[in-house]
């Protein structure tokens, strides 16, 4: 589906619709902004998934992005939202570049396990670091844009709009990346990496690059989420958080850069409603949904739409 069609058009329409409809969807703004944050992390995850790699440790970069934003705001007094977003992304990208040297050698379950181990190391560190609030975490000061506060009760729209624009740009860039030669190596590596090597491409470098992209996007998502919630805690690095991202990626599918955001929105809707109406069975609803998707739509919910549009 990549390279075939209307991805960019759909993204532009979606952005315009969201920005225009935003002021009238007051109740939904928080949830939608959260979905954008989650969608960004999952966008990175699908870059890896297309290569056949599942990271059970994206929570690491998500948490690093969020804690960078929190620390810059709390300890240095930096409030500019754009600077904070860049900071969170950069911190995650640097860490991903370093760890990528190791992880690029791993595949399949070992890749999943090592990435899990790294995120649990961060979790273990944060839980015992009292300067960063231990298990409670700490509050993130409200960010500003052009000198004005952009989040808080009553005016969530500016942050929401920022989230949409950031997600839009990230989706466009990722879409462009997936169409490059390096991006198109992904399915080839997944199918047979030895053949890719014979063709003259370095699998190791390709995976390293993809890992850094995924880490940076997770950092960006974490940074946005930290500003949205206004609070951060070590749970962000726990394995269940990473599991949630994998869940959303499977739910949405890897066929398009739109799928992660669609998946994230659907996930947040399921979670909000299931949690509201039956707090003790919402995980069961999620688990069942995941099983159904794995069995009936192995390429994710996105494939259902793509199929329909091809036929129609």
């Amino acid at each position: 589906m990549i390279g075939k069609g209307y991805t960019v058009h759909v993204l532009v329409v979606a952005l315009v619709v969201l920005l225009v409809a935003g002021p009238f969807m007051h109740k939904w703004l928080f949830m939608l902004t959260m979905s954008m944050g989650k969608g960004l992390v999952v966008l990175g995850l699908i870059v890896l998934l297309r290569t056949g790699l599942v990271s059970f440790g994206q929570g690491l970069y998500y948490c690093v992005g969020a804690y960078t934003v929190g620390s810059l705001g709390q300890f240095l007094g930096w409030k500019n939202a754009l600077v904070l977003l860049v900071g969170g992304t950069a911190a995650a990208a640097v860490l991903a570049t370093i760890l990528g040297f190791l992880l690029a050698n791993y595949r399949s379950i070992f890749f999943a396990m090592l990435s899990l181990a790294f995120s649990m190391i961060l979790f273990g560190l944060l839980v015992k670091t009292s300067a960063l609030g231990s298990t409670d975490g700490f509050n993130v000061p409200a960010p500003t844009l052009f000198g004005k506060a952009i989040s808080g009760a009553g005016h969530q729209y500016p942050l929401f709009a920022l989230g949409c624009v950031v997600a839009f740009i990230a989706a466009l860039l990722t879409n462009a990346y997936l169409r490059t030669a390096l991006g198109r190596l992904s399915p080839a590596i997944r199918d047979n990496e030895i053949r890719v090597e014979y063709m003259g491409a370095s699998v190791r470098n390709a995976i390293h690059t993809k890992y850094v992209i995924a880490g940076a996007l997770a950092g960006l998502g974490g940074a946005l989420t930290a500003m949205t919630i206004g609070h951060i805690d070590p749970e962000m690095a726990y394995w269940t958080t990473s599991g949630e991202f994998v869940f959303v990626a499977i739910l949405g599918g890897t066929g398009s850069v739109i799928a992660p955001f669609l998946g994230a929105i659907i996930f947040e809707i399921i979670r909000t409603y299931a949690y509201q109406y039956s707090p003790n069975t919402w995980q069961m609803v999620l688990g069942s949904a995941m099983l159904l998707v794995i069995i009936f739509l192995p390429a994710g919910l996105w494939s259902a739409f793509a199929y329909r549009s091809r036929r129609g």
């Binding site: 190391i121 979790f123 688990g287």
Partner: protein, 298 residues
């Protein structure tokens, strides 16, 4: 000296507990190539079933000593019911798929089981501490440990030796080794592979449930108690080498020692240290300490 001794004793107790759980995980992976994320849920199921059975037993004034039998019975019941149900009802449709897909399927199963537990037992904690103190304490160089821990260690050794003996010296064990080695050829030779899968999964489930049942008297049984156990058990089997029996034993010992040393000497690094060891082993021995060499397929 006393401190060192207590580090070692704590480590042995903790390792025994971990080994029982990791043994089930590594067995299931070794035979079926499924890294079972729902293993922690089986552990929690065992704990809850034990809490109910022991609670019922003691509540009716039956002899308290027999409550140990109830702990084991709870685990066996959980294994016999959940194991075949999950394997026949869900996993058998997934064989032949990618290991990662299977990991995700068991992750979905984990989500479902977590809530099933809440539906069956509610969200309030259960306490059944009687069996823990019943046997009195045991003095080691001036430190006293509840005698209950000896049972835990004994069960752990028994489970490990039992699985090893069955695999090495009995006919079904040798057949199972054949299945592990080559599933298709075993099938062609007339081995009922599906039955082996079901039995293995049931035994694995039972081991996790025994781990949970034996833990139930020492903690409060609460929702979500299996969530942390999964990653610990992962750490153990990954350190030892996935699918390796000796590996699980060594992994459990290493994790137990690291944790207990950290708890005694540097409590800040307790959780963190276990995963550092896991990462280090993966970095220097990517397939774990006891992994067999694998043929690269082109």
């Amino acid at each position: 000296m006393t401190e060192l001794l207590s580090v070692v004793v704590d480590a042995v107790i903790y390792s025994s507990w971990l080994f029982i759980i990791a043994l089930g995980l590594t067995l299931i992976y070794g035979v079926m190539k499924i890294l079972n994320m729902a293993h922690g849920s089986f552990y929690a199921l065992g704990a809850y079933a034990a809490a109910s059975l022991v609670g019922y037993w003691l509540g009716h004034g039956y002899p308290p000593l027999a409550s140990y039998g109830m702990l084991v019975l709870a685990a066996i019941l959980v294994g016999l019911i959940t194991g075949p149900l999950v394997e026949r009802g869900l996993l058998r449709f997934m064989y032949g798929k990618d290991e990662i897909i299977l990991l995700l399927v068991t992750y979905a199963l984990f989500l479902i089981l977590e809530d099933s537990i809440k539906i069956i037992w509610g969200v309030n904690p259960y306490f059944i501490s009687e069996p823990y103190g019943l046997l009195g304490v045991w003095d080691v160089a001036g430190l006293s440990y509840p005698f209950y821990n000896i049972i835990l260690i004994a069960v752990s050794v028994l489970a490990g030796v039992g699985v090893a003996v069955v695999l090495q010296y009995t006919r079904p064990g040798k057949l199972l080794l054949a299945v592990i080695h080559d599933r298709e050829v075993s099938m062609a030779m007339g081995i009922n592979v599906n039955r082996f899968y079901m039995v293995t999964f049931t035994v694995g489930t039972m081991l996790a449930a025994i781990g949970g049942a034996l833990t139930a008297p020492t903690v409060s049984v609460v929702p979500g108690m299996g969530v942390g156990v999964i990653v610990l058990a992962f750490a153990v089997v990954v350190i030892g080498g996935l699918g390796s029996l000796q590996g699980a034993a060594l992994g459990a010992l290493i994790v137990g020692l690291v944790r207990s040393a950290a708890v005694h000497y540097l409590p800040q690094v307790e959780l963190f240290s276990i995963y550092v060891v896991m990462a280090l082993v993966l970095i220097f021995r990517p397939k774990g300490l006891f992994a067999a060499a694998e043929v690269r397929k082109i």
